[in-house]
Amino acid sequence: MDTYFIKDLMVPISEYATVPEGATLFEAYLALENAQTAYDHNKYTHRAVLVLNKANRVIGKVGQLDVLRALEPKDAKFEQFESIRKFQFSSQFIMNLHDQCLMQDKPLVDICRKGGLIKVEELMQTPTPGEFIEEDASLNIAIHQLVRGSHMALLVTSGKDIVGILRLTDVFAAIFHTMKTCGIEMNVDQDSDKDT
C-alpha cells in the first residue's frame, strides 16, 4: 500500500466541480454536470461540488445527500416530529408520522423548482479537521481517516492550499489493484479437499 501516495490518486481541484458562495443549488448541479462531462474518464463520476469563497478557498462541500436533505419538508409539523424523538418513541413511530405527512406533500416538480433556488451555503457541509489530508501522506493514513470519519472523500492539501480531492472510490480501486498484484493464492477448493 505504501507505494501509493495521495497525490497519485487524487482528482486535481481544477478538474473538480466548484461554485462560488452565493450560488444556487441549481447552479451547483450545472457545475457538477460540466465537470462530469469534461473531466471524468472512468465510470465513477464526481458526486459532490465544492463551494469556494472570494479568495478561492474551499469553505464547504455539497454532496448528493445534502441535496436530498435540502428538499425535505421543513414545516413546523416535521420539526415537531423530530422534537419528540427524545421522548423514546420508536423509529418506526416517527417514520410513520413522517410518511403520513409526506403523503400530503406537494408534487416533486414543485419541490425541485423551489429547491433549485436554495443557496449552497444553506446546505453545504463545512469540512471538519478529519477531512483534510496532506498530498504526501500515505494511503494507509487516508484509509484510516475515511473509515474513522465515514467520509466519501478527503480534501488534499499542499501546505495551506487545497489541491485536490481524494475520493473513496479511487482509494477502493487502488486497494483492489494492490490485492490483485500482491500474489494472494486462490484457495477455493482447499476445504472440499479436506472433506474427502
Binding site: Q80, S83, I84, K86, F87, Q88, F89, S90, F93, N96, L97, Q100
Partner: protein, 484 residues
C-alpha cells in the same frame, strides 16, 4: 451577606454544576423567587400522630412556612411554604415489586433533602426507584411554585412552576413550566414547558405538547420575573384566606363526619358539605361545594362552586370551579377545570382527566362518562380533539395521533395503569373505609386495613418551630431533631 444568602448561592452553584451540560443557569430564575426577608417571618410546622412514624432532622436550613410529616431530614436547604408529606413511605418489612423482583425493604424509608431550594412545592409518596427504596432523596435540586415531586427521587434538577414529576427518578434535568413527567427514569433532559409525558417502557408512551402561546396566558415564567398568568392570579386572589388560618392559633372547627378528615390548614368557606370518608389536605381550599363520599382534595387544590359526586381523586394542585364531577372520576395533578356560573362544566362518571389538563370554557361543556381527557380545552372542538373514550383507547394497539397528542403502544395497558392507580389512591386515602363496622374490629383486620389518610389524619396534632429572627443565622433554623 448573611448565612441564608450564602446558603442560597451554594445551592444555586450546585444545581448549575449538575445542569452544565444543558447550559442551564438557575440563578436568574430563582434569585428573587425565594423571598429572603420572609424566611425569618414564618414558622414551620409538623404533624404528630399515633399512625405515622416521627423522625425529623433539620440542619443548616431555612424552613419558612413549610410542613413536615413522617420521616424526613433536611440539610443545607431552603424550603419556603413547602409540604413534605411522609405518610406513604415504605416501612421495614414491606415488599416492593419491580418487574419480576419482589424486593424486601430493610428499614423504614426516609425523605432526605440536601443542598436544595424548594418554593411552595409538594413532596409526597415514596421512592419508586428500585436502586434506592429506603431513601427518597432530593439533592442539588431547585423547585419553584406549586411543583410536585411525587415519588420521584431527584439529583441535580430544576423544576419550573406548576411542574410535576411523578414516580420518576430524575438526574440533571430541567422540567419546564407546567410540564408533567411520569417516565420511570430520566436523565440529562430539558423538558419544554407544557409537556405532558407518561411512559411505561415496553407498554405505552403518551406525549402531549401544549400550544405555548395559549399556555403562556395561564402560566408564564422566564428568567428575572416572578411566575405570572391566570393560574398565579387565581391562587393569589385567595391568598388572604390562607393567611388567616396560618396566623390564628385556634380556629373554629368545621364539623365533618367521623370517617373524614379536614386538615387544620385547609380553608373551608360557607355552604360546603363534606361527606363520609373524605380527605381534605393542608392548603386545600373549599367554597360552596359538595364533596361526596370517598372524595379527596389534596394539597393546593381548590374546589369552588362545584360538586364532587363521590370517590373522586382530586390530585395535588388541581382546581375545580363551577363544575359537576361524576362518581369515580379522576382529576390529575395541577389540572385547572373552570366552568362559568351560567355555563357550567359537567364531567361524567368514571372519567380520567389527565394530569395538567386545562378545561376553560365560556360555554357550557359536557364530558360524557368514561372519557380520557388531556391538554388544553376551551370549546367543543378542542374537546373532540383532546379526548377519547376509555373503550376506544383500550382498543389501540399500535399508535394514535390526535392534535398535539402522540401515543404509541398498548392502549389497554395505559388505561389499566391509570385505573389501578386511581383505585390505589382511593384506598390509600380511606375512601372505602366502612365506618359502620369499625367498633370492635381487630387490629390488623381487613376493615382496619381499609383505614386511609382520611381516618388516620384525624388523630393528628400540629407543632411549630421557629427560625432565628436576627443575627448571622437570621432566617435559618437551629439544628433540630424530633423523635417520639
Amino acid at each position: 451577606m448573611n448565612a441564608l444568602e450564602k446558603l442560597f448561592i451554594r445551592i444555586v452553584q450546585r444545581v448549575n454544576i449538575n445542569l452544565r451540560e444543558l447550559e442551564f443557569d438557575a440563578k436568574p430564575y430563582v434569585w428573587d423567587l425565594i423571598p429572603k426577608e420572609q424566611m425569618k417571618k414564618f414558622y414551620a410546622f409538623y404533624g404528630i400522630s399515633p399512625d405515622h412514624p416521627l423522625n425529623l432532622q433539620f440542619k443548616n436550613s431555612g424552613l419558612a412556612g413549610s410542613y413536615f410529616l413522617g420521616q424526613c431530614s433536611v440539610t443545607n436547604s431552603l424550603l419556603y411554604k413547602t409540604d413534605v408529606r411522609g405518610d406513604e413511605l415504605k416501612k421495614k418489612g414491606d415488599r416492593f415489586q419491580f418487574n419480576n423482583l419482589n424486593i424486601p425493604i430493610s428499614k423504614d424509608e426516609e425523605i432526605v433533602i440536601e443542598d436544595s431550594a424548594m418554593v411552595k412545592t409538594l413532596v409526597h409518596n415514596y421512592s419508586h426507584d428500585p436502586e434506592t427504596l429506603e431513601k427518597f432523596f432530593i439533592k442539588d435540586t431547585i423547585s419553584t411554585h406549586y411543583a410536585n415531586i411525587h415519588g420521584s427521587p431527584s439529583d441535580g434538577c430544576f423544576l419550573g412552576p406548576f411542574s410535576t414529576v411523578d414516580l420518576t427518578t430524575m438526574r440533571d434535568c430541567v422540567i419546564g413550566t407546567f410540564s408533567y413527567v411520569q417516565a420511570g427514569e430520566i436523565s440529562h433532559l430539558n423538558i419544554d414547558p407544557g409537556t405532558v409525558w407518561v411512559r411505561s417502557p415496553g407498554a405505552f408512551n403518551f406525549l402531549y405538547h401544549y400550544p405555548i402561546e395559549q399556555l403562556n396566558s395561564y402560566i408564564y415564567f422566564k428568567a428575572g420575573i416572578q411566575p405570572q398568568g391566570k393560574l398565579i392570579d387565581f391562587v393569589e386572589d385567595r391568598k388572604e384566606a390562607f393567611q388567616r388560618i396560618f396566623d390564628l392559633v385556634n380556629i373554629d372547627p368545621v364539623p365533618v363526619p367521623d370517617s373524614s378528615s379536614l386538615d387544620r390548614y385547609a380553608v373551608v368557606k360557607p355552604k360546603t358539605e363534606i361527606g363520609e370518608n373524605v380527605l381534605i389536605s393542608q392548603r386545600a381550599y373549599l367554597q360552596n361545594s359538595t364533596l361526596g363520599k370517598g372524595a379527596n382534595v389534596q394539597e393546593n387544590c381548590y374546589i369552588i362552586n362545584s360538586n364532587l359526586m363521590g370517590n373522586n381523586v382530586t390530585a395535588h394542585g388541581a382546581k375545580i370551579i363551577e363544575t359537576n364531577v361524576g362518581e369515580n372520576t379522576f382529576v390529575g395533578f395541577n389540572s385547572f377545570l373552570r366552568g362559568q356560573p351560567e355555563s357550567r362544566l359537567t364531567i361524567g362518571n368514571v372519567c380520567i382527566i389527565m394530569p395538567h389538563t386545562i378545561i376553560d370554557s365560556r360555554k357550557p361543556l359536557t364530558i360524557p362518562a368514561g372519557q380520557i381527557v388531556w391538554g388544553l380545552i376551551t370549546n367543543e372542538k378542542d374537546l373532540k380533539t383532546n379526548s377519547i373514550s376509555i373503550n376506544a383507547m383500550s382498543k389501540i394497539n399500535t399508535r394514535l395521533t390526535k392534535g398535539n397528542m402522540f401515543f404509541e403502544g398498548n392502549g389497554e395497558s395505559f388505561v389499566s395503569a391509570f385505573q389501578h392507580r386511581i383505585q390505589h389512591i382511593l384506598e390509600a386515602n380511606g375512601a372505602f373505609f366502612n365506618c359502620t363496622t369499625k367498633k370492635g374490629q381487630q387490629k390488623g383486620s381487613n376493615k382496619e386495613q381499609q383505614k386511609g389518610h382520611a381516618q388516620k389524619n384525624q388523630n393528628m396534632s400540629i407543632n411549630t418551630i421557629q427560625p432565628y429572627p436576627r443575627g448571622k443565622l437570621e432566617g435559618l433554623y437551629p439544628t433540630i431533631s424530633i423523635k417520639p
